[in-house]
């Protein structure tokens, strides 16, 4: 082996070893790298209790209720398996919508309601013109209707 090949091999082995080390460290810290917990994880007591953490999921359709004071909002976050009621006082981001993604930071109350101090909207990676979105929505509604009539 020529010295330069030795150096190349040393670099390759070094990068590979470093990659493995980083992979193991990231695995070990996996829980701390999670930006939010899902309602299923909260229900399964995997989220830190008594401490501030974030939850993420979809705002359940038809669950958003504004209280009489006008600033408190209550809604349910779902990951389609489990749901979690959330209460929040403050302004909501523009993209906060029913059926869309949301990330909320706060604490879990003793009554099982998540008291959020901050609510962020999590949008998806799909981009399309409004007409296309409308068409997709219509197609879904028709499909739902068809499956419903078939079930009968």
């Amino acid at each position: 082996m020529k010295p330069r090949h030795k150096r190349l091999a040393a670099i390759a082995i070094g990068v590979a070893a470093l990659g493995i080390v980083v992979a193991l460290v990231l695995r070990a810290f996996n829980e701390n790298l999670v930006f939010f917990f899902t309602p299923s994880q909260v229900v399964a007591h995997e989220a830190p209790e008594g401490r501030t953490f974030r939850i993420g999921g979809m705002v359940e359709k038809g669950s958003v209720k504004r209280q009489a004071d006008g600033v408190t909002v209550q809604f349910t976050v779902t990951d389609t398996a489990k749901t979690l009621p959330v209460s929040y006082r403050g302004p909501l981001p523009d993209l906060f919508r029913e059926g869309k993604g949301v990330v909320a930071q706060g604490k879990l109350g003793p009554d099982g309601v998540f008291r959020a101090s901050e609510v962020l909207a999590k949008h998806d990676e799909n981009y399309m013109p409004p007409e296309a979105a409308e068409a997709v929505k219509k197609a879904q509604q028709t499909a739902e209707k068809t499956s419903r009539t078939l079930a009968k």
Binding site: R7, L26, V34, P93, F96, K100, L120, H123, E125, Y127
Partner: protein, 237 residues
């Protein structure tokens, strides 16, 4: 060495590469300008409004190509740094040095535009999720590389120290790319991937790809200009 292998490495010498770099730069610079104009025209005038985000999504035409280039340039820089370290080729180390400022610029643009995009859509300029944090680390890697090389007077030692840092930092690139799959992040997943194609309207995708090509040509043009300066500085032209 045989005559053939000498021919193969003809442009590995700074002296012969110097005029070639000039020629490449002269082609890449106008290409970058034309592609950027076409890309921005598609992005700002042709592409339709987004159903979910309205006009705010249009920053994607800068944000995503800049983020792609920030990661890609780092890999190219680390590649040249590794070649320079292994084979002691002078030009490779100069290439690594020439790419760093452009990579840092694109990383900064990606972070900055992302922050401007985050406020109206997510509701915040910054969060410490895995994608944003690893991209910020990338910026520090670029800045660290440049600072380290600038702090050592002996160019050979500076190149070697920088190369080591560049190679170590390359593990961060797959972390940035896969962060949105490996962990729960506020940042959405990739809209364009080799495996599952694109989840964007075709015209939006085209605008983004043309802009990516424009940034690519820009990177080539400025890297070539910079490498020519470095060759001259080191008295090898």
């Amino acid at each position: 060495m045989s005559a053939r292998s000498i021919h193969w490495f003809w442009y590995a010498s700074p002296q012969t590469f110097y005029p070639l770099a000039g020629a490449i730069g002269r082609l890449a610079a106008p290409a970058a300008a034309v592609l950027a104009l076409v890309g921005l025209y598609i992005g700002l005038f042709v592409a339709p409004t987004d159903a979910q985000q309205g006009e705010a999504y249009r920053i994607i035409f800068i944000h995503v190509p800049a983020a792609w280039m920030s990661m890609f340039l780092y890999v190219v820089m680390a590649f040249w740094a590794a070649i320079g370290l292994a084979f002691n080729t002078r030009l490779s180390a100069m290439m690594a040095r020439a790419l760093a400022p452009t990579g840092a610029l694109f990383t900064f643009i990606a972070l900055w535009t992302g922050s401007l995009w985050g406020k109206p859509t997510w509701g915040t300029y910054w969060v410490w999720d895995a994608r944003l944090t690893s991209e910020l680390i990338l910026l520090f890697l670029y800045l660290g590389f440049m600072a380290l090389q600038a702090s050592i007077d002996d160019t050979r030692r500076a190149d070697r120290a920088g190369a080591l840092l560049a190679i170590v930092g390359v593990v961060n690139v797959p972390i940035i790319y896969y962060s949105v799959q490996w962990w729960n992040t506020l940042h959405q997943g990739a809209s364009v991937s080799l495996k599952s194609g694109s989840s964007m309207a075709p015209i939006m995708l085209w605008g983004m790809l043309v802009m990516a090509l424009a940034f690519w040509m820009y990177s080539i043009a400025v890297a070539m200009a910079r490498v020519r300066c470095i060759i001259r500085e080191r008295g090898e032209a």
